[in-house]
């Protein structure tokens, strides 16, 4: 039992420790209550087409001692080139998703860590595919779908999420970004649906995106203007 943790957090840490021992014994959970840091480190195995499992060094870092907050995964030994095209940042962090699309809800489930590890394995598998394609000169090297780098990624996401909205509806939605309306109110997009069943999640994600990407707000309004002009 780690001092200073709530009972829920302590139970989750215990469950995650057991889960690691069962499914990825190469990974170890370390919790330092004094520095309030938690991390999982060691080797994760990734299945290869031949049925073998290759091991990769990873460090999964939590921002504090909250076991329910989605951590970041790092390649600290430099196994994978730290380039944007491979979605590995200069400090070795895996950019597995847009920050506001981190799978927070699934991570909170009882099997959240197992699902997270599966996502890490999936990401490493894509890295291996990238390496194989690069070695053989098969372009594009990144094998699957990906978001554009930096602002482009936000712009793509914004367009995908709002592609069905007219300029007027989009304007109404953007107007409500920071409004906390009454429970049960209708969505500002004009669909007639309840807000909670329509664009509530989008606006929640948008708020995070604006906080994470400095240019995101300006891009959002530029998109609105472009739609009006069109």
């Amino acid at each position: 039992m780690v001092a200073g943790l709530t009972a829920t957090a302590a139970a989750r840490w215990e469950r995650d420790r057991t889960l690691l021992a069962e499914v990825e014994p190469g990974l170890t959970l370390r919790i330092d209550s004094q520095s309030e840091r938690a991390r999982i480190e060691g080797q994760i195995r990734v299945a290869r087409p031949s049925g073998r499992a290759d091991a990769f060094d990873v460090v999964i870092k939590y921002s504090g001692l909250d076991p329910l907050e989605v951590p970041d995964c790092y390649d600290e030994v430099g196994r994978f080139s730290r380039i944007a095209n491979r979605h590995v940042e200069s400090d070795g962090r895996f950019c597995m998703w847009l920050p506001w699309l981190a799978p927070a809800r699934e991570f909170r489930t009882a099997d959240g860590l197992a699902i997270y590890l599966a996502r890490v394995q999936q990401f490493i598998d894509l890295q291996l595919q990238y390496e194989a394609r690069e070695r053989r000169g098969i372009e594009p090297f990144w094998p699957g779908p990906q978001w554009g780098h930096g602002d482009d990624g936000f712009r793509e996401w914004f367009r995908e999420e709002t592609r069905t909205l007219s300029a007027v509806c989009l304007g109404n939605v953007l107007r409500d970004v920071n409004r906390n309306g009454k429970a049960g109110r209708r969505c500002p997009c004009g669909s007639g649906k309840r807000f909670s069943n329509c664009h509530k999640q989008f606006l929640r994600d948008l708020r995070v995106a604006w906080a994470v990407i400095p240019t995101a707000r300006a891009i959002s309004y530029a998109e609105l203007e472009a739609r009006r002009a069109a």
């Binding site: 889960l19 069962e22 499914v23 990825e24 014994p25 195995r45 990734v46 299945a47 290869r48 087409p49 031949s50 049925g51 073998r52 499992a53 944007a84 095209n85 979605h87 940042e89 895996f94 950019c95 597995m96 998703w97 847009l98 920050p99 799978p103 699934e106 489930t109 099997d111 197992a114 699902i115 590890l117 599966a118 996502r119 394995q121 999936q122 990401f123 490493i124 598998d125 894509l126 291996l128 595919q129 990238y130 194989a132 394609r133 070695r135 053989r136 000169g137 098969i138 094998p143 699957g144 779908p145 990906q146 978001w147 554009g148 780098h149 930096g150 990624g153």
Partner: protein, 519 residues
């Protein structure tokens, strides 16, 4: 079904353990080579010779002779060549590699000069036999068969490869290999080792081709006289009579060809049950194996280790082809294996893709499975693999009781030729096969001018699978992510409980893996 590392390793380890009691003894009298077992190879001193219909594939490709007629002609040729080798000269037929006879002269024991003379005269006899053969079957000008031969002498290890009833006699060592290498398009050639052993009476008929190669030119009547001096009974007139009998016995129409509609049963294949199949011909040669075996002869244990490595590697190559890919093992040819990847039903593109996957599995067997199964890390024994797509006839030709299974078609010869130009670890494709592959796989095989083929180096099973997976990525988690997850079998092999993992796997989100970069 399908190849995987764990089962391949298990089979190889089992085979390695099964051959731990190998004992090698010398051949000191006439033996029945069919009785040689895998555990008791025999060291044989003798002259190996290959007699080849040098223009067989050229005639076949010309289309001037129907392919079923070529099968009939080859059958008659094989019957008469076997008769000359075994009955007239008391030699040992090893097998026919398509139109190429491999034979051995190992008696009289302790008279190596007579062994060499027998090999040379047998080669000459078969070469002269082709004149009445061409006449008998009306083969003139461009379609007339031309025979060439290559001979070397030395000590080789006779062993058998395969499992159960799927076994073949084969020889390991330089002499068996060099004989094939001195074979050229024309004439009867031999190494200096053979030249030195020949009696002086051969001198007038020998000419030097290079410092280590000699050629023999001798008329049929002289060859008959020389054979008679040694007590061998070949005569060209006898061959001519036998050919006439064979032509009567195996008349036009004796070869019955049908399309493959189900997996080919080797035991039922015959002249009258010849199968026509579209497939990919495969030749996989163990690069440097002969040198490896030769290098081991300096110690008592060396050859034993070499034979064990050989059985383990060849057995696993065979099992991968036959068990995991449903391919047809046509023949072992010294240290190479010939196979056919085909499907009774299925499009040509699927067959082509499967054949390249098979080749990548064989690369992994040689470079990764073998060292781990045997613990013999040095030297590595990479395989060179030649592949060519096309229609072939699968049939059996030669002596009653011991016919040789073979596939006859332009692609067979092309695959063999490509393989001969490759280095270990390389896979080479002909243009027909290349054109059947998807774009992503074509990119893996650039054109090589030296190999005259599309060549990829070091394409192992994992890389093939990874590239294949990357090409099929359509954004769904099922195609991108789940391949990276350990299967229940993989987890069990790693000694890890699978329940939680598989549970997580089932709960993998269906949203695509879609990474982003801040920069």
């Amino acid at each position: 079904m399908g190849w995987n590392y764990a089962s391949s390793l298990e089979r190889a380890q089992t085979r390695w353990e099964q051959t731990s009691e190998i004992t090698i003894t010398d051949v000191k009298r006439k033996i029945d080579f069919d009785q040689i077992s895998r555990l008791h190879p025999r060291r044989v001193v003798g002259s190996h010779f290959y007699v080849d219909v040098a223009n067989f594939n050229k005639v076949l490709r010309s289309g001037n002779v129907q392919d079923d007629e070529m099968v009939r002609l080859l059958h008659v040729f094989a019957r008469e060549a076997s008769q000359i080798t075994e009955s007239d000269f008391d030699g040992q037929k090893v097998h026919f590699q398509g139109p190429r006879l491999h034979a051995l002269s190992y008696r009289p024991i302790d008279d190596e000069s007579a062994m060499a003379a027998k090999a040379v005269l047998t080669s000459l006899a078969i070469r002269h036999m082709v004149a009445p053969f061409n006449e008998q079957f009306g083969l003139e000008e461009d379609v007339a068969w031309i025979v060439a031969a290559g001979i070397d002498h030395g000590s080789t290890l006779a062993t058998r490869n395969g499992a159960g009833g799927d076994q073949e006699l084969l020889f390991l060592g330089n002499a068996a290999n060099r004989a094939a290498h001195v074979l050229s398009k024309t004439g009867v050639r031999m190494t200096a080792a053979v030249r030195e052993l020949l009696p002086e009476s051969f001198d007038p008929y020998l000419s030097e081709v290079s410092s280590d190669e000699y050629c023999v030119n001798m008329s049929a009547s002289t060859a008959e006289s020389m054979a008679d001096l040694f007590g061998w009974s070949w005569a060209l007139a006898t061959s001519k009579d036998r050919l006439a009998d064979l032509a009567d016995k195996y008349n036009a129409g004796c070869v019955k060809v049908s399309d493959v509609k189900e997996n080919i049963d080797k035991s039922s294949v015959s002249l009258s049950n010849t199968k026509r199949a579209f497939g990919v011909s495969l030749f996989a040669d163990v690069d440097g194996f002969t040198d490896y075996i030769e290098g081991l002869t300096t110690s008592d244990e060396g050859p034993v280790e070499g034979v064990r490595v050989f059985h383990t590697l060849r057995g696993e190559l065979r099992d991968s082809v036959v068990q995991d890919f449903d391919g047809l093992r046509i023949q072992y040819q010294g240290d190479r294996i010939q196979a056919l990847a085909y499907r009774p039903v299925g499009d040509h593109e699927a067959i082509a893709l499967k054949a390249v996957e098979l080749a990548s599995a064989l690369i992994t067997v040689a470079e990764e499975v073998l060292p781990e199964a045997t613990g013999v890390a040095e030297p590595p024994l990479p395989v060179a693999i030649g592949l060519a797509a096309g229609e072939v006839l699968v049939t059996k030709v030669g002596q009653h009781g011991s016919p040789d299974l073979m596939s006859i078609g332009g692609s067979t010869a092309t695959a063999a030729a490509i393989e001969g130009r490759l280095k270990g670890g390389e896979i080479g494709l002909d243009s027909e096969l290349y054109s059947l592959l998807p774009d992503w796989l074509q990119a893996v095989f650039p054109w090589s001018g030296s190999a005259k083929a599309y060549v990829a180096a070091g394409l192992n099973f994992d890389e093939f699978g990874t590239l294949s997976e990357s090409a099929s990525t359509d954004g769904s988690a099922s195609s991108v992510g789940k391949a990276a997850l350990l299967t229940a079998g993989g987890l069990a092999a790693a000694g890890v409980g699978a329940a939680a993992y598989l549970k997580a796997r089932d709960r993998m989100p269906t949203t695509p893996a879609r990474p982003w970069s801040r920069d």
